[in-house]
Symmetry: D2
Subunit: 136 residues, 4 copies
């Protein structure tokens, strides 16, 4: 399953090269993950309220083409792998005409106060099953 999210670009996203600053793509990946969860009926805010957070463990981005502020930019998100402790997402940042960047993000399941790893499969079994159904 692929979830496509249109990004609301901001003037503050640009840099003095005249393009969208590269680190913002990592934030766009997060927009994609949140929207992916939402499409699955999973509310990330509720998860955080229950004492579990999903910090990012790994990020990889390859930049293909610069994005400009006036372009319509989308993040296309899919799930590559789901294990009891982590979820790997694949992301494509693109306009209608060209691929801007591709990459992956890996999130882990962690206790909000201790930052200790928790098994997603036991802490949030419903989320785990739903994500598992989409990934590998």
């Amino acid at each position: 399953m692929e979830v496509t999210t249109q990004l609301q670009l901001r003037y503050s996203d640009t840099d003095q090269m005249g393009v969208i600053y590269h680190a913002n793509y990592v934030t766009f990946f997060e927009q994609g993950r949140t929207d992916y969860f939402r499409q699955q009926g999973i509310d990330y805010n509720e998860i955080e309220a229950s004492g579990i957070i999903f910090p990012v463990h790994d990020i990889q981005v390859t930049y293909h083409n610069a994005s400009r502020l006036h372009e319509e930019i989308y993040v296309v998100t899919s799930v590559e792998q789901v294990s009891p402790v982590k979820i790997q997402f694949k992301h494509v940042i693109r306009s209608k005409d060209s691929v801007k960047a591709t990459g992956t993000s890996v999130i882990v399941c962690v206790d909000k106060t201790t930052f200790k790893i928790k098994k997603l499969s036991t802490a949030l079994p419903k989320v785990y099953e739903r994500m598992k159904a989409n990934g590998v």
Copy 2:
């Protein structure tokens, strides 16, 4: 008393006008306030850990000259007014040669969990007294 803080500018602070993006100055004001507290022997992290936060209630900025990434930029912070519930700071953003922006920020004393106003004078009497000694 005036506290001068050199700012570490970042490429991400620039925008497609080729200058430091204007909203970042509001962040620089916060750098100035934190450093002002530190110079007074007040550790803002300790205050937060004790359950009190200082959200910003008012911000005013007038922009005089653009700042460029290669410039050495400073925020000069002083206290304009201290009342039992709020502190008003004055900020000047400047390079050695020119004034970039001037402005004020007002912070209030609030309970971390309820976000209800607390009297600084009773919640943190030492902080109140020390700040009072500098302002009006």
Copy 3:
């Protein structure tokens, strides 16, 4: 005329108080201005391409209530004053239920390379007339 723009909040907009970081509201004001121009048939990207930029000259924000990531947040933008050299906007940041912040922003008309003030009324007469029709 009032233009209402829904904001796409980002996880990166939050801070360790658990709320939307206050300086981001200044960016939201800019989202509001850009959308206001768009609703008037004015493309801000075209203006920049023509060699004119609209740097911010003044910002004022009063914060009434904290915004949380899961809330639907809007910026409501209107024009307060239009002169040959500057435009003053009024902004309200709000959810459906409560006002989060109110403020104003003043932009000036400037040459992109020299950063010298230009008269909006002569540099971009159509933009000036259209904005003038909305403001005072």
Copy 4:
């Protein structure tokens, strides 16, 4: 050669998990690269003024431990590989006591107006030689 740069953390760098937001590490990598160049007597601002920019082509980050606002955080930067068209950096984000994140960034040499790849070895031979002397 390793260059160590102390980072000036900002309140705006934090997120509602109470830690430094992960995408900011990508910005810290850039702080490291700029400082690395500076230590080599290379002024990145001069390079940009000459019509060459160094956009990021690849980013990889692995997060080991969360960083808190009150910590002293450093980015340690070294050069892993230098070719006529790209430079690969290695970065470690750390406090005195623990490694926060490790990663790499690859920058390419590009014409500022066309965004077409240029050979670093011919466009900026002195920079190329100096970087080549440090990397592999």
